[in-house]
Symmetry: C2
Subunit: 342 residues, 2 copies
C-alpha cells in the first residue's frame, strides 16, 4: 500500500495540529497509510484523541527536531535523528513511500529534498510551487516562489516545464497556459534574466507560453502557471497573502461595527464565508517542491490541521497521478534548456 510520511514535529503547531490533520486525511482517501516521524511518546498521546484504522498509521520514533533557528545545511547533516531527516530518508529508501509532507523550516525541507531525496535527472534547480486561488474558482500555479532567489534563464524555462506537468497531473489541465511574471506585458519588459527567459520559454516545445504577465494576472485566472524567479515569486505570493489577510481583517472589523444584532449577521454570513474560504489558500494544501525524485509537499509553517489534511491528500494525488514520471518525461522530450546549463 502507498505510504505518505508526515513530519509530525515540523511547524509552529506541531505535533498537535499535524497529527490531527494527518488523521483527517485518512478519511479523504482510502488507499494509503501514514507514517508519522517524531517523538513517539508525544505523537502517540495525540493519536489517542482520535478514532482511526490503526493498520493505516505507523509511528517512527526520532529524538531530534530541526527548527527555524537551525542553519538548514548543517542541521540536515548533523541532526540525523530528526523527524525531517528520518522522514526524507524513508521517502528515498522505501519504494512503498510515495510522498513526504512537512510544515517545518522551508530551508531544511529544500536542503533535505536536494541532499536526501535527490533531483530528477536533468533538473537544474527544484522549485517551490504553490497553487493560488483565482477569481475563476480554479488555481494558478506560481513557480518558483522561494527556493531560488537567484536564477538563470534556463531555470525559469524549466520551471515552466515542471509546473505544466504539475498542472496536468494534479489539476487535470490539458494544455496549461504558461505566463512569465514580469513588470509589464510587452515582450521586451524586465531585466536581462527575464528577457532571455522569455525567448527560451517561446522555444520550449510542450510549454504553451502565452507571454509576459503581471502580478495582477496571478489571480485573474487567464493563465494556469506563472513562471517566476524565486525572489519576485516569493514577493508576489506574500503580497497576495498580506492583501488577503488585510481584507479579511477590515471586513470583520467593519461588520462587527455595523451588526449589533445576530439577525444582521445572518444576512452576510454566507457570502462573507465564501470570500474567506476563497482567500484562505491554506485549504489548497502546501507548495509542492517540484523537480525531486519523489513527491515533497511543504506546508506553511503556521499550518493547522485544515492545511495539513489537504497537504497529505495533495501528496497522495500527486503520486497517484504520476507527477514525477510526467516531469521526468517532459524534461527529456520538451526542454531545449536542459543542455544549456553546466
Amino acid at each position: 500500500m502507498l505510504k505518505i510520511v508526515v513530519d509530525a514535529m515540523g511547524g509552529d503547531n506541531a505535533p498537535v495540529e499535524i497529527v490531527k490533520g494527518a488523521i483527517q486525511s485518512l478519511k479523504e482517501r482510502n488507499d494509503f497509510s501514514l507514517v508519522l516521524t517524531g517523538d513517539s511518546y508525544l505523537v502517540k498521546e495525540e493519536l489517542k484523541k482520535y478514532k482511526y484504522d490503526i493498520s493505516r498509521v505507523e509511528v517512527v520514533h526520532c529524538t531530534e527536531v530541526i527548527t527555524n533557528d537551525d542553519v538548514p545545511t548543517s542541521a540536515v547533516r548533523t541532526k540525523k535523528d530528526s523527524s525531517l531527516v528520518v522522514g526524507m530518508k524513508l521517502l528515498h529508501d522505501d519504494p512503498e513511500v510515495g510522498g513526504f509532507v512537512s510544515a517545518g523550516s522551508t530551508g531544511a525541507v529544500l536542503t533535505g529534498g536536494i541532499m536526501l531525496v535527490g533531483r530528477i535527472k536533468g533538473v537544474m534547480r527544484p522549485a517551490l510551487c504553490p497553487a493560488i486561488p483565482n477569481v475563476r474558482g480554479s488555481q494558478t500555479l506560481l513557480c518558483d516562489c522561494g527556493a531560488n532567489a537567484e536564477c538563470k534563464p534556463q531555470y525559469l524555462a524549466q520551471f515552466g516545464v515542471m509546473a505544466s506537468a504539475y498542472a496536468k497531473a494534479a489539476f487535470g489541465v490539458q494544455n496549461p497556459r504558461v505566463g512569465l511574471l514580469t513588470n509589464g506585458t510587452e515582450e521586451h519588459k524586465g531585466d536581462p534574466l527575464h528577457q532571455e527567459a522569455h525567448q527560451l520559454l517561446k522555444q520550449t516545445d510542450g510549454v504553451y507560453f502565452v507571454g509576459n504577465v503581471e502580478g495582477r494576472d496571478i489571480m485573474y485566472g487567464d493563465i494556469d502557471v506563472a513562471v517566476s524567479d524565486g525572489f519576485s515569486g516569493n514577493v508576489a505570493l506574500k503580497a497576495i497573502e498580506g492583501c488577503g489577510k488585510t481584507v479579511a481583517t477590515v471586513l470583520s472589523d467593519s461588520l462587527r461595527a455595523s451588526f449589533s444584532s445576530k439577525l444582521g449577521y445572518l444576512f452576510v454570513k454566507k457570502p462573507i464565508g465564501k470570500l474567506k474560504r476563497m482567500l484562505d489558500y491554506s485549504r489548497m494544501g502546501g507548495s509542492v517542491f517540484l523537480g525531486l525524485k519523489k513527491v515533497v509537499v511543504k506546508s506553511h509553517g503556521s499550518s493547522k490541521a485544515k492545511s495539513i489534511c489537504p497537504s497529505v491528500v495533495q501528496a497522495v494525488d500527486a503520486y497517484r497521478n504520476g507527477l514525477i514520471d510526467m516531469i521526468a518525461q517532459n524534461l527529456q522530450t520538451e526542454s531545449p534548456a536542459e543542455e544549456a546549463d553546466a
Copy 2:
C-alpha cells in the same frame, strides 16, 4: 500663484475624465491654478460642462498626443508639440509651475521627466513611489515600483532616502520606518543586490532602517516605506491590485447571489463600501516620480476623475510641503551611497 500642469490628453479616458478630475481638484485646494495641455478645442468642449473660476484655468493648445504605442524615448524627442512634452517643458521653464500630472504612457512620463525636467543633483535614478493603503488606515510607500527594472545596491539605498523625505513631506510621518522588500526577513536573505542594499541602508544616516520585510508587510502597516527594486516592486504592486480586484469581484458576485431584496443589501452596504474604498487605492492619487527637480505625479493609465483629482491635490501638497527641497537636502547630508556610483 502656484500652477499645476495637467496633461489633458494622457490616459485611456482623456480628455473627458482628466478635465473633470482637474476641475474637481479646484475645490479641494484654493491656492493654485490649472494649466491644461492638449487639443484646445476638445479641452474647451469639456470645460463647458462645469462651473469654475475661469481665472484659475488656462488651456495651452498642442497638436500631438503620445500614446502607449509610441516608443517613449523617440516620442519625447520627436513629438515636441504633444501635451506631455509641452507640459513638462512648462514645468521646467516656468518658475510658477510647481507640479505636473499625467495619466499617459508611463515610459514617456519617466523619459520626459529625466530628459525635460531633470534630476536633483546627486540622484542616481529617479523612482516611482505609490502610496498603498494598509490595514492601519494609513499608507505604505513602495519605492521603486517600476521605473528601474535593473538596480544597483546604491540606487536602493537612495530610494530609502527619497521615500523617507516623501513620507515626511506628504504624510507628516516624523521618523519613517523603512524596510527592504525581500524574500524573507533574515538579514542574509535575497540575492547579492538586496544583501548589499541591506548593508548600505543600515549605514545610511537619516534613514530609519528596520531591516528586511516581506510582501505581506506592505499592507500590515508596520513600516512607512518599502524599498524595492523596480522589478519586484512592480510585481508586488500589481499582485496587490489583482488581489484587491479579485476580492471585490467575488464579494459583489456572492452578495448579489445572496441578496434578492433591497432590505438585505442595506445591512451590508456600509461595511462593504468601507472595504471597497480601502482597496480602491486610486483615491490616494498617483505615483510620485521621486528624484526630479520638480513634482511629477503619474496617475494610472485607466484613471477616471476620482483618481485625477487626488493626483492634482497630491502635486499641490507635495510642492507646498517642500518635497523637492527635502529630498535635495537629505541626499546631501544623509546618503553615503551618493558618491558610490559612477
